[in-house]
């Protein structure tokens, strides 16, 4: 359950940005989380809603975009998406579609944990 800490940190940033931009009402927050962070979107939404309960921002929507893993083959430089699986199991040990090298791929995307925008007035 690292989702609660993440939701708390998220809320700190929202508070800061709302103040900076002089917003009073919060409609929506958009975040991007990489597949490798093993964040469960439902759990994050649950924690977010819980933290907003009985605050003026209760009901704001949290949109979570999960960024798939994109790899770069360490041998030939080919960039590719490993096949989508339920878990992150074995994405690192799949062969490069271009040259067949099966280990040592560099992670280009899939580790991010970002807030992208907030909507309010």
């Amino acid at each position: 359950m690292h989702e609660m800490s993440i939701a708390q940190s998220l809320l700190d940033i929202i508070r800061d940005e709302m103040e900076k931009n002089q917003l009073k009402v919060l409609f929506k927050v958009k975040v991007k989380t990489g597949k490798l962070n093993a964040i469960v979107p439902d759990a994050l939404t649950f924690c977010f809603d819980l933290l907003l309960r009985d605050t003026p921002w209760e009901g704001a929507i949290l949109e979570i975009e999960t960024v798939p893993v994109r790899l770069k083959c360490v041998e030939c430089g080919y960039e590719f998406y490993p096949p989508i699986e339920e878990n992150v199991v074995s994405i690192f040990s799949i062969p490069c579609p271009s040259c067949g090298a099966d280990f040592g791929h560099r992670v280009l995307e899939g580790k991010e944990l970002l807030i992208e925008y907030i909507e309010g007035e």
Partner: protein
């Protein structure tokens, strides 16, 4: 009104971690963040390590547990400074907790701080705590598929300790496979195979630690 933000969600944890790292650097302290599943042998490894190096280095341990002070008591018996953090449910330590723990330590003349993270292969890997490196501990009974299942930790660790190798004859654990997978995840990862119980391979781990202290001092 839509306000583009683009900020790292864990930025405040990372900033605090950087502050800690600067402090450790300025004071020449090697800080290792020890991460594993529950029961992999973190506390036993630390007990043996502290006893072996007690005359060489000044060491301290920050113990992270969800509940109880049992581990901290075991460590304190080794005669080193110990601070217990009870996370009260949280599955990992973050840099704010470490900051408060470090305030309780007398850091003058310290050579090494071991941070024994909460037993968990997922969340602790996500939170930097100002360490020089993460030491991942994987024990033979857990099975050889763990690096594939929990790649984040193994892709970020500086050292992998494979513990309980005295049990290899009794279990199906493919050492070669583990080494191949983790090197794939993390080509610069160093690996030491040992048994904290029998002492096999332990000297290699101690030399690794000595090297870290030497590097810090130079």
């Amino acid at each position: 009104m839509k306000i583009p933000v683009i900020r790292r969600i864990l930025e405040s944890n990372e900033e605090k971690a950087q502050e800690l790292q600067d402090f450790f650097e300025a004071n020449g302290i090697v800080v290792l963040n020890l991460i594993s599943s529950p029961g992999a042998g973190k506390t036993t490894l630390l007990e043996k390590t502290l006893n072996a190096l007690r005359d060489e280095f000044n060491m301290a341990v920050i113990e992270g547990d969800i509940q109880t002070t049992a581990d901290a008591e075991r460590i304190a018996r080794c005669g080193v400074q110990t601070v217990q953090i009870n996370t009260e449910g949280a599955c990992h330590l973050d840099s704010y907790m470490i900051y408060r723990a470090v305030e309780k330590l007398s850091t003058e003349h310290l050579d090494i701080i071991f941070i024994e993270n909460v037993g968990n292969l997922v969340c602790p890997a996500e939170f930097k705590v100002g360490e020089d490196g993460k030491v991942a501990l994987l024990s033979v009974p857990e099975g050889d598929d763990k690096p594939e299942k929990y790649p984040l930790l193994f892709s970020e660790a500086k050292l992998l300790l494979i513990n309980k190798i005295d049990l290899l004859p009794y279990l199906e654990f493919d050492l070669e496979k583990v080494e191949k997978v983790v090197r794939g995840l993390n080509p610069s990862l160093e690996i030491v195979k040992l048994s904290a119980r029998t002492g096999e391979g332990f000297e290699e781990w101690l030399s690794w630690l000595r090297k870290r202290v030497e590097e810090k001092r130079s």
